[in-house]
Amino acid sequence: MSDKELTSRDWFGKASAAVVLGFTLTLALTCTFAALFSRGDSYFTAQGQMAMWLSSPIWCVILSFCFFFRSGIQAWTWLAAANLIAWSLYFGIRQLMS
């Protein structure tokens, strides 16, 4: 898929994308989970707690695998696109559930 070899040189671009956009992506996905499964207004329900716990594996996976992106710019672009999809999904589902 690429002729360019992967290196660790652009680590800051990739890691910063995973920290910032990885976190917002995690937030969108976990809030989607909460919107689907959580009942009642209290955010401290078991399902709400589960949504909070899911933050850890999702964010860690993004942080760990972000170095597969070929450059920092690629990391920011792809993660921004993923954010857009995930946030649309979240607000779409919230609209449907209400």
Partner: protein
């Protein structure tokens, strides 16, 4: 797998490892010890000055006397079912609030039936070790230390994934190979790989749960902020704060609550197999009679480090809130509790605790061996490029790799032993334990930096061995012969004696190596002596 991927992730693994490794060593060593927090607390706590606790049937007599003489206990007091040095009385109560805890009082009945009250606190050394574990040894306020710990936990997660990616291509070839031989770096690498791979599930669990323990407030706040976007805001008004404190309830009101023996019986009927440890009797005008119960059940994992929590109606004995009680939870809450349980190792009783203890020590060793590998590979590169002296970075990191772990080990041992020697009436025992730990820790780190890795390695291992031997020595010399022995205290002494012997053996090996080992190693004392001469 493509070699460039492996190379990239090898770089990532080295750097996250070197940043997080020493902090993780402290977290794992202290964490392994917290597996035996309760025996340690029992070992470290002074003998109570109170008379032996009354039976559960005679407890109402004690409670009546406490409530009459100490109206501040009427709003909330606790009845204990498990009593030992770490929990020295049948009945206790505390002043202050949950946020700002005041003094805890313990009460018993003298042989003539009169009330005895003591404020002599059980030892807090076990909590200090727990805090060292939670804050990866950082001497900061909780609010500052926790985000740093969280960042280290995230690096730890990256280290796990990158380490596995590096290992995958040669997994079959390397897995069962332990090449002890001439090539020491090879041996350390084999050891690092085999340890890391076989404890992989444990490490994944620890990394993921630690990230949550560090950042749960931030995650909740962010999620709540998202859920509140565009939602109708409900103004919640709490009770006005800072008003005059509620007057203690009348004694006649409190008599509506069931006596402890009957309450215990009714709780037992609803939860067979549950080992009840504490009941709190609480009353206020808003909520009326209610109580909290604490206890465990080895068949289930629990939410707290060693216990689950629930609420009862103290007039009827009915469990009103069981979401955090073992066996009373729905599937969602049981799943959440299991996340806590796999971090705390509080399911399955003693075998699981011992396994977690071993895995924790193995984890600490894993980070130590990772640091050694980093140093060894840098040393090689320098030799190839012609440098004779080790760089300052290698020297300092070598010294820290010796000083930080051994300082942590020695500091923990000395501060545990000090529990037997610090005068029981001392104000703020907890901060004394903290001072002792950090003094020993800092001294060891400075010693390592001043003397270099090779010489300080053996010396600090002797110091760690001696410090750990102080724990059983403290048992023998302090408090005289009146000390009640128990399996729990014997366990602490045996483990400490075994640890001291192990450190002494390592010290002898390190000494041999610094004299006879390869002279270009950073562990060689002969070369550094030649350089200074």
């Amino acid at each position: 797998m493509r070699t460039d991927i492996v190379k990239t992730y090898k770089d990532i693994h080295s750097w996250v490892g070197i940043i997080a490794g020493l902090a993780l060593f402290i977290a794992f060593y202290a964490g392994a010890i917290t597996m035996f927090e309760e025996p340690l607390q029992r070992w470290a706590s002074p003998l109570t000055e109170l008379s032996p606790p009354p039976s559960l049937e005679r407890t109402p007599d004690l409670v009546d006397k406490v409530l009459a003489a100490h109206p501040e206990a009427r709003k909330s007091y606790r009845v204990h079912l498990a009593i030992g040095a770490e929990q020295p009385a049948r009945v206790s109560w505390s002043t202050g609030s949950r946020r700002e805890p005041g003094i805890t009082y313990f009460a018993s009945l003298a042989p003539d039936g009169s009330l005895e009250v003591s404020t002599q606190q059980p030892s807090e050394v076990a909590q200090l070790i727990d805090i060292l574990h939670q804050q990866v040894g950082l001497p900061f306020e909780h609010e500052i230390a926790m985000p740093i710990m969280g960042a280290i936990a995230l690096l730890y997660a990256i280290a796990i994934v990158s380490g596995v990616i590096c290992l995958l291509p040669s997994l079959i070839k390397d897995l069962f190979a332990l090449r002890f031989g001439k090539n020491l770096k090879r041996m350390w690498l084999d050891l690092h790989n085999v340890l890391g791979l076989f404890s992989l599930p444990f490490h994944i669990v620890m990394a993921l749960t630690s990230v949550i323990f560090a950042f749960h407030d931030q995650f909740y706040d962010a999620q709540r902020a998202v859920q509140n976007i565009g939602a109708t805001q409900v103004q919640r008004e709490g009770p006005p704060r800072g008003g005059p404190p509620e007057a203690p309830p009348e004694l006649a009101v409190l008599e509506e609550a069931l006596p402890p023996a009957e309450l215990v019986r009714r709780i037992g009927q609803q939860m067979p197999g549950f080992q009840l440890r504490t009941i709190s009797y609480e009353y206020n005008a808003e909520e009326g009679h209610h109580g909290h119960i604490q206890g465990g059940d080895p068949r289930y994992g629990v939410r707290g480090p060693t216990y689950g929590l629930g609420e009862v109606d103290t007039r009827t004995g009915l469990i009103t809130e069981g979401d955090y009680l073992p066996g009373k939870q729905g599937p969602w809450f049981a799943a959440i509790s299991s996340f806590f349980a796999v971090h705390f190792g509080n399911f399955g009783g003693a075998p699981v605790r011992w396994s977690y203890f071993a895995l924790g020590l193995a984890g600490a060793f894993l980070f130590y061996s990772g640091n050694l590998l980093w140093i060894e590979s840098r040393r090689k590169k320098e030799r190839k490029s012609g440098a004779v002296e080790q760089t300052r970075a290698t020297r300092i990191l070598g010294a820290l790799t010796v000083g930080v772990p051994l300082g942590c080990i020695a500091g923990i041992s000395v501060t545990i032993a000090a529990a037997k020697w610090l005068p029981a009436g001392l104000d703020n025992l907890a901060s004394w334990h903290s001072r002792i730990y950090y003094a020993v820790f800092l001294l060891a780190v400075l010693w390592a930096l001043g003397r270099g890795a090779a010489r300080s390695g053996a010396e600090l291992l002797w110091a760690a061995a001696f410090a750990t031997a102080l724990v059983p020595i403290a048992s023998l010399t302090a408090f005289g012969a009146g000390e009640p022995r128990s399996d729990a205290t014997l366990l602490v002494e045996l483990v400490a004696a075994f640890g001291a012997a192990s450190f002494a053996m390592m010290a002898r090996a390190a000494r041999r190596r610094s004299v006879d080992g390869p002279r270009d190693s950073i562990w060689s004392a002969t070369k550094s002596q030649a350089a200074t001469a």
